[in-house]
Assembly symmetry: C2
Homo-oligomer: 394 residues x 2
């Protein structure tokens, strides 16, 4: 099993990797991501699994044994821009390795077992995270999704075939294994953990508009410069999140015209906000919006805030989490919460009993080339996932 | 003459104009700017002028009459991104119209008269303003210029033929007519003004670096987010410039990886700074750099500041300015200073006696689609330019 895992990991290592940073660029329907999708089909065929796809880009490889609603496990193969190797692929590689381990153990499942990949989990290309699972779960319609556009103006409807998805029709339970994106398991000294829930989170587009003018000749007092309104808002968001013990980040910007000697006419900035409760999220975004509007009033600029996606808090099935966490070789796994969104959260909110396994990340860093998990911890994750599948499919 | 001017103006109007904003995109060696260059040659040929080019992209159309060092007038045809119609082309169209007016008057110059266009005046593509005139004047070498790269990574050496320039060898005086980029002439109630000098100005690249990480899972207190250091620096630059009565602008940004759910690893921001004296400019940039470094220390980020170009203060030839300003139909033209850089500043600093004429801009707005000058004011500019050329070439 260790050999299997390491071989698969080596297969994926060079795909979409930037030599300059060591980070990954695996945006959906780009060459590198499609290469990973082809690799997935090859792995499924090697294991005589039946491939089922939908018209959105999602795929499941089914081990057609047993009867009744299936047990699905998997993750995603796309990355953020300049992301790490583990976020997504670890869950897919671990799923195949866990299936291999079950076969080695001679286990015959009483239910179908599937390995899944949902497309555009990161929202790094079309802006809406978990797009594939949202479409599969029916919480976003094709009519809404087809119009989403990437940075270059290409629509999702231009790259995906489009239409509906029946992939989840026969799914009874979903389990996603993922690298931890924080230090909780490091602090607890555990290689593996189980998720209790996901913080509510959202993406909000702030459109700051003012008037372009010459950077040299326009007196400071005659300007309506949206960059200043944005800058103050970015600092305010940080301060508000600090005070409230929550999270707020401005990590993406578009400046128009973006010339050195022109005062900008427009700054578009995307706020990523996450809180421990739905009420706290609403309060945080409101506080940031109020401060932006106040500053816009003083700067003579305008600000408009659009919620591009908001995901409510997710509480995973507590009985299922307890079942997944109990009685492993290393004792019970700890049950922890996370601030990161996942396809598992979408499926859970859509009513599918869902569990998540996390693998320890020594640095806690994610969405960065620094993201890491040790090989022994990865293999502990595969064992935990195999144990879980055995419990669910027996 | 009015007909000539209006016809030329109409020819240029649609070239490189964005229908969405009404602004112009005339970056050097792009289709629209090359279309303008071809228009220039056509205008020269219509007037039986001799075309002289260099290997950089600069061009002069000579009226080969008289003897001795020539009198050169002209401006540029490139624009900032999403710029106005007047900044540059007004000086070129006015030069041809002034030449037509001199011929109508039956004036026979005692010296050669040339109409010039210097390439990449705005620095909107390769980042160094007045690139063409700097190369022609020998203050930047081809070896330095060829390595300058545009946003897409294309080098100046890939689009320009390269080599030296002898265009200025036989030039005795340079006169540039330009739309005013402020409200000084509006306040004075004058259609035309003459430049006394140009404020010193510079472009400084601020490289803010931190560590990319997940926007959701990384606690606020565990971050080293260069966006915060940048945001505080942008506000500090504005405040410092306000207090000092100078100018400081951050109008151009590059964020890496620029993803909504990733804390940036790097923010590159370009500062445009202009002051009434060289000492004030140095003090302003030092104050902004100090505040950026202080904040970087608190944020755990790093900041590195590179002066990409610094132009010292320019005082145009005072006797020449007085000659240009005196005894017009409307009385003497006012002599005013400007905060905008111009090819005239480069040529003046290189030792060529140089003057500038400004045409009133009712809004004062420039580097924006809102930039404007009325037709009567433009024609007053042409008359003033023709008078000036007559005085210099008689």
């Amino acid at each position: 099993m260790a050999d299997d895992f390491e071989r698969m990991w080596r297969d994926l290592e060079p795909v979409g990797r930037a030599s300059a940073s060591g980070g990954y660029f695996r945006q959906p329907f780009t060459t590198s991501e499609r290469e990973l999708a082809a690799w997935f089909v090859e792995q499924a065929e090697t294991r005589s699994l039946r491939i089922e796809t939908d018209e959105i880009g999602n795929v499941v490889a089914w081990w057609d044994v047993g009867e009744g609603p299936g047990v699905l496990t998997g993750s995603h193969l796309d990355s953020v821009l300049d992301g790490g190797a583990f976020d997504g692929p670890l869950g897919v590689v671990s799923a195949f390795a866990a299936l291999d381990l079950l076969r080695e153990r001679g286990f015959v499942p009483a239910r179908p077992l599937g390995v899944s990949v949902f497309v555009e989990e990161e929202g790094s290309r079309f802006g809406l995270a978990c797009l594939g699972s949202r479409l599969a779960a029916g919480v976003v319609t094709w009519e809404q999704a087809r119009e989403l556009r990437d940075h270059a103006g290409v629509a999702f409807g231009d790259v995906a075939e489009g239409g509906g998805s029946r992939l989840l029709d026969e799914v009874g339970t979903f389990v996603e294994l993922h690298v931890e994106q924080g230090r909780d398991l490091v602090d607890r000294g555990a290689a593996v953990g189980v998720a209790s829930g996901i913080w509510p989170h959202g993406r909000y587009r702030f459109d700051f508009t003012g008037a372009a003018n010459h950077a040299g000749t326009t007196r400071m007092e005659d300007r309506t410069d949206p960059m200043l309104t944005y800058a103050m808002t970015a600092l305010a968001a940080n301060k508000q999140a600090r005070l409230a013990g929550q999270r707020a980040t401005f990590g993406r910007l578009e400046v128009t015209p973006n010339g050195t000697n022109a005062i900008p006419s427009r700054v578009i900035a995307w706020l990523d906000a996450r809180c421990s409760s739905d009420a706290a999220l609403a309060a945080l975004v409101e506080a940031i919006t109020d401060q932006a509007a106040g500053r816009a009033g003083r700067d003579g600029t305008r600000v408009e805030v659009t919620a591009e996606s908001v995901s409510g808090s997710v509480s995973f099935d507590a009985a299922l989490a307890a079942l997944v966490a109990a009685d492993h070789a290393g004792g019970d796994w700890p049950v922890i919460s996370t601030q990161a969104g996942h396809d598992a959260g979408i499926l859970s909110a859509a009513g599918i009993p869902t569990a998540m396994l996390f693998v320890r990340n020594p640095t806690g860093v994610s969405h960065s080339p620094e993201e890491f998990a040790s090989m022994p911890d990865c293999l502990a994750g595969v064992s935990a996932l195999a144990d879980t599948l055995e419990r669910l499919a027996r």
